[in-house]
Amino acid sequence: MSGRGLSDEALVHTLAAESADALRFLEAAGLDLGYLIQLGGHSTKRTHREPNSPDGKPRPVGFDIVNALRKKLDSLPPGLVTVLTNAKAQRLLVKPASGGRVDGVEFLNLTDNTVSSAMGQAVILATGGYSADRQELLAQHAPQLLALPTTNGPWARGDGIRLGRAVGAHPIHMDKVSKSLLA
């Protein structure tokens, strides 16, 4: 396996087993992903891309996925989903006397600098990685890379990892830090 023996096989199995359904989900949202290419380390053409635009330019598939799903969100009846932009999650809220159950998010509204809470039944973190966290996380865990540039924007700072860690989540490979493999 390409993960050099470190991949969680159950997660890999889930990714592979669910990929066809994920593709159908995106196609149902209006995306055309019928163009297959082969990328590094692949044994065959298996990465789905969008066909080029009529003028021949490659389409930005990540942008188009977000755009298509946003349109789907916008088509739902009003009041069902609230999207808050320009808000920064500061803390995951744990329900008192629940054994650690997460039931909300405290966030800073960056428009008026006020702090609010969004309460609910569950929280899903989709906050990205820490490729641009040069000052802290990379310095600690991949110091040999600090001289390298990054392809990531400045927002990739591992904020969600900190949020999760503060409520007891387990960032994996903590015992591998001293070996400091990277790839």
Partner: protein, 363 residues
């Protein structure tokens, strides 16, 4: 449901006081993309444009400062990165004691900077399509030259601008291109044996360098996207944190030590959907009618995901909806920025149909 979005441009710095407590727990699995463009106008810039893997997939050749080909351009990313550090260091050579057959050693003792050269012929450029003009005519990452000797001159000129000695020769570049094209015998080694067209052909050369691209480590999740709690002892079975799920780059464990191209967007969609299903299944109170309906649906359709979630949801703590504190049907989704989705998401807010300024066709 509430979706909370960061606006990438205005995320403030984290409180530094918290960091010492968090640092020991993070994974060190960081993916370096082998090919980010070195902008001739800003060679030392910290943020680089990705040179899409498709440029290599379409026949791009990687050369070192001598004009030698040193790696299979379509090998996995970490292999290509290691080869660039080994064969194309910009200033310092690796210590003699490093075992070059051990990728981990090559990586951890990598030179602090490296620069290799990506060469395309007209066929590769045509295959990539009109967007090549962005890299060539807008950003000037590529220089158009004539034949292998033109490539060597371009490489040497770039090194001389960095006060480094010129090392490349047209003969070396010729041999490298011939090797990539599968030529053998005299045609592979002797420029004099080349048909004139080989020397006159238009070639495009750009400088590239490895760049930090993706962090494989993160919060450990189960196949149902539930975030696992840090164990108090090594023997303790990992338990889920009730009510908390993660999807995408913030999670860890899927990619191990090397992520394959294409698997980032895929994991966002696959585990994003699973997280939503798990959250609804485990935490949104169901009516008796809904419960009966769901049971029937699973029985009839054999919904693998539902079963998968059920099988993996055996820790007790987060099994099923809770009885207390049922407060409506609202769920909270925090959608921050995966690095790849960041620009796109921002663009959704501000510009409904922007012309992409970067190639986001491959992530």
């Amino acid at each position: 449901m509430i979706i909370l979005c960061f606006k990438p441009s205005v995320i403030p710095l984290q409180s530094p006081s918290l960091l010492p407590h968090l640092l020991p727990f993070l994974s060190s699995q960081v993916q370096v993309h082998p090919t980010a463009f070195v902008d001739p106008a800003d060679v030392d810039g910290q943020v680089k444009f990705l040179a899409p893997e498709a440029l290599r997939g379409l026949g791009g050749v990687l050369l070192n400062a001598r004009g030698q080909r040193f790696v299979d351009e379509l090998a996995p990313r970490d292999t290509v990165t290691g080869a660039i550090f080994k064969h194309a260091p910009l200033s310092e050579a690796l210590p003699e004691t490093v075992d070059m057959t051990d990728q981990a050693q090559v990586h951890t003792t990598a030179p602090r900077s490296a620069e290799a050269y990506l060469v395309l012929d007209e066929k590769a450029v045509a295959g990539f399509g009109p967007n090549f003009d962005f890299y060539f005519k807008v950003k000037h990452f590529f220089q158009k030259v004539e034949g292998p000797s033109g490539v060597a001159e371009a490489i040497n000129a770039r090194r001389q601008r960095r006060s480094l000695s010129p090392l490349a020769s047209g003969a070396q570049v010729f041999a490298a291109l011939a090797m990539k094209r599968g030529k053998t015998g005299a045609a592979a080694t002797d420029p004099a044996a080349a048909v004139p067209a080989d020397e006159a052909e238009a070639l495009y050369v750009a400088a590239i360098t490895p760049a930090i691209h993706y962090t494989m480590g993160g919060l450990q999740i189960r196949p149902d996207a539930a975030v696992l709690r840090a164990a108090d002892s090594a023997d303790e079975k990992p338990r889920a944190i009730a009510g908390l799920y993660a999807a995408g780059e913030v999670s860890g464990g899927l990619h191990g030590a090397n992520r394959l191209g294409g698997n980032s967007l895929l994991e966002c969609v696959v585990f994003g959907r699973i997280a939503a299903r798990s959250a609804i299944r485990n935490h949104v109170p169901k009516s008796a009618e809904e419960q009966a309906h769901e049971a029937a649906r699973r029985r009839i359709l054999g919904d693998d995901i539902a079963l998968l979630v059920e099988e993996n949801n055996d820790d007790g703590e987060d099994a099923g909806p809770e009885d207390e504190g049922i407060g409506g049907e609202e769920k909270v989704v925090v959608e921050g920025k995966s690095p790849e989705a960041g620009e796109e998401a921002e663009a959704v807010d501000d510009k409904p149909t922007p012309a992409p300024t970067r190639d986001h066709s491959e992530l």
